[in-house]
């Protein structure tokens, strides 16, 4: 890798920077520092990414410097993204970059802040969500994860309900569902009651990962009839054995409408797996 990093062809050096990501931190460190100073922007771009994935001891400082002062926008973006992925990395640089004059850099920082815990990151994201700027709102929503999402669930729910831009509303719905709380699931089911939003919400509900199906099951168990009908529709669109098992349980629902919707959904599916457990 060291030899190839000296190749006269920039694309070859960029490949070497990518390859350096597979070395141990000790071996990679001098190579990636050198690559981060390469005259070609794509060598520096991949070096920034590799520094984030290898975990050099001074990765935070290297990436912060690249994210704030590299001459090339893609390098700044890659550094900001890698900075967000560093465990325990201080958020100051990303918070500052969230207001960078280059929109793509600001978006990368906002997206990265969603992975960072702490009040400072949450405050920057809260400001972006309240900015009224659909691009900043979308970037903040796209990266929300874990603790940051939990801290901002109220703001995200508000955007899912009221944002003027349909794309922002849909991003907010996806972010809510990614949190996986039962409350978020019932909120999205309720939003699906609006005919104009039904299809988008159902698409998002049907696409939730399998780990979130218990939250959808809780809607089927605990929520009012109109929300249970939405959950049945989402499970029907989703398909698969686990969804069919939940639909089979809905055949015992107190509401004839829910029972009918579940029966119709199962009637269009292959029932064998579902009925084997629930209605042998």
């Amino acid at each position: 890798v060291e030899a190839v990093l000296g190749d006269p062809v920039a694309a070859v050096r960029a490949a070497a920077a990518r390859a350096a990501a597979q070395l141990s931190p000790g071996d990679a460190a001098p190579l990636l520092r050198r690559a981060l100073a390469d005259p070609d922007l794509w060598v520096r771009y991949y070096a920034a990414r590799a520094i984030g994935s290898v975990g050099l001891p001074d990765a935070g400082d290297l990436l912060a410097a690249a994210a704030t002062s590299d001459a090339a926008v893609p390098v700044r973006i890659a550094a900001a993204q890698a900075l967000a992925g560093l465990e325990g990395g201080p958020p100051e640089t990303l918070v500052a970059l969230a207001n960078d004059e280059v929109p793509d850099v600001a978006q990368a920082a906002l997206q990265g802040l969603g992975e960072v815990e702490g009040d400072e990151a949450a405050a920057a994201l809260r400001a972006a969500l309240a900015s009224g700027d659909p691009v900043r709102q979308g970037a903040a929503l796209a990266g929300l994860d874990g603790a940051a999402l939990a801290a901002l669930e109220g703001e995200v729910e508000e955007l899912a309900r009221t944002a003027a831009e349909p794309g922002v509303r849909e991003s907010a719905v996806r972010a809510l569902l990614a949190g996986g709380s039962e409350r978020a699931m019932s909120v999205v089911c309720a939003l699906a009651g609006d005919p104009a939003r039904r299809d988008g919400c159902l698409r998002a509900l049907a696409a939730v990962p399998g780990a979130l199906l218990p939250a959808l099951a809780s809607v089927l168990r605990d929520c009012p009839e109109e929300l249970r009908l939405v959950a049945v529709d989402a499970l029907s669109r989703r398909g698969g054995d686990e969804a069919y098992r939940l639909l089979a349980r809905a055949l015992d629902d107190a509401s004839p409408a829910v029972r009918g919707a579940a029966a119709y959904a199962l009637g269009r599916a292959d029932l064998r797996a579902a009925l084997a457990d629930e209605h042998p």
Binding site: R18, G52, S53, P74, A78, G85
Partner: protein
């Protein structure tokens, strides 16, 4: 290092997942539509991914997001865009396609220009692909004897440098000649192995170039033509891109100009810059004198 950093595009530790994320698809789709006019809706996501993947592989770029940044920020991005145009090109065309439009040109419009005392006429094939359209125009004009009566400037362009290179080559397979009569084959081609070579004199009547229809600096000087053929390309464009192209044409072509589109294409739903007329057996758009100025 968080787990997420190991999965980032281009991180080098793990192979890229096939296809695009929804977010990356949106970024690339929008930047391609903005630059080229070609729009891929959600139903064509897989087709778009195939085309982009080929272009990425040719460049050795490991992730779609990296490729997006390359198109947007690389100092030599123009070359990458030209390569991408080659991958987005749809090379399906053939000689003498929609022949009623060539007849309208030679039997109605050219006599009209002659009656007006015009000494020269400019004709532009705006999405010439591998050259079948402008060469068909040249054949029709040759058959009508128009090259002996007027100075005719036939310009042909395409966004894809590879397509223009094929057009400049002048060599065609049997499939491209499927709508040509034996007489036209005999007159305008000679066999060269398994393929057909266009007559050199006819080929030399066309001036070839590369031009992006959404780039006024490239397409604007060509759009001053009296007659524009822009067929079977707007079907791949977004509505906004079609409006931009129509506005460019309307703003540059003479008030007496004529615009031929493909049979499945229409401007009437999208713009008031042109009016539709029936000329001979063909429909043709003419600039609308009542349209708002460009």
């Amino acid at each position: 290092v968080r787990e997420r950093n190991l999965h980032r595009p281009g991180a080098g530790l793990l192979p890229e997942p096939p296809g695009f994320s929804a977010a990356t698809f949106g970024l690339l789709r929008d930047i391609v539509a903005q630059r080229t006019g070609v729009f891929f809706d959600d139903a064509k996501r897989d087709l778009f991914a195939d085309r982009i993947s080929d272009a990425m592989a040719a460049r050795g770029v490991p992730s779609a997001l990296d490729y997006y940044y390359l198109l947007k920020y690389d100092p030599a991005a123009d070359a990458a865009w030209a390569e991408l145009a080659d991958h987005l090109a749809v090379p399906e065309t053939y000689f003498w396609r929609q022949a009623e439009q060539f007849q309208a040109l030679t039997e109605v419009l050219m006599p009209r220009y002659a009656a007006q005392g015009r000494r020269g006429v400019r004709i532009w094939s705006a999405a010439c692909c591998s050259g079948e359209e402008p060469l068909s125009i040249a054949m029709a004009l040759a058959e009508g004897g128009w090259f002996e009566r007027m100075t005719i400037d036939i310009m042909a362009s395409d966004a894809s440098p590879a397509m223009v290179a094929r057009a400049r080559g002048g060599l065609y397979g049997e499939r491209a000649l499927r709508a040509l009569s034996p007489e036209r084959r005999e007159r305008f081609f000679r066999r060269e192995g398994e393929r057909w070579r266009i007559d050199g004199g006819l080929h030399a009547r066309v001036r070839w170039s590369t031009a992006n229809l959404l780039d006024a600096a490239e397409a604007g000087p060509l759009a001053v033509a009296d007659v524009i053929f822009c067929r079977n390309v707007l079907i791949y464009f977004s509505d906004d891109a079609i409006r931009r192209v129509a506005r460019l044409f309307a703003g540059r072509m003479p008030a007496s100009g004529h615009l031929f589109l493909g049979t499945s294409e229409s401007l009437t739903r999208l713009t008031s810059d042109f009016l539709l007329q029936e000329i001979g057996a063909a429909f043709v758009y003419v600039p609308n004198p009542g349209a708002a100025p460009a």
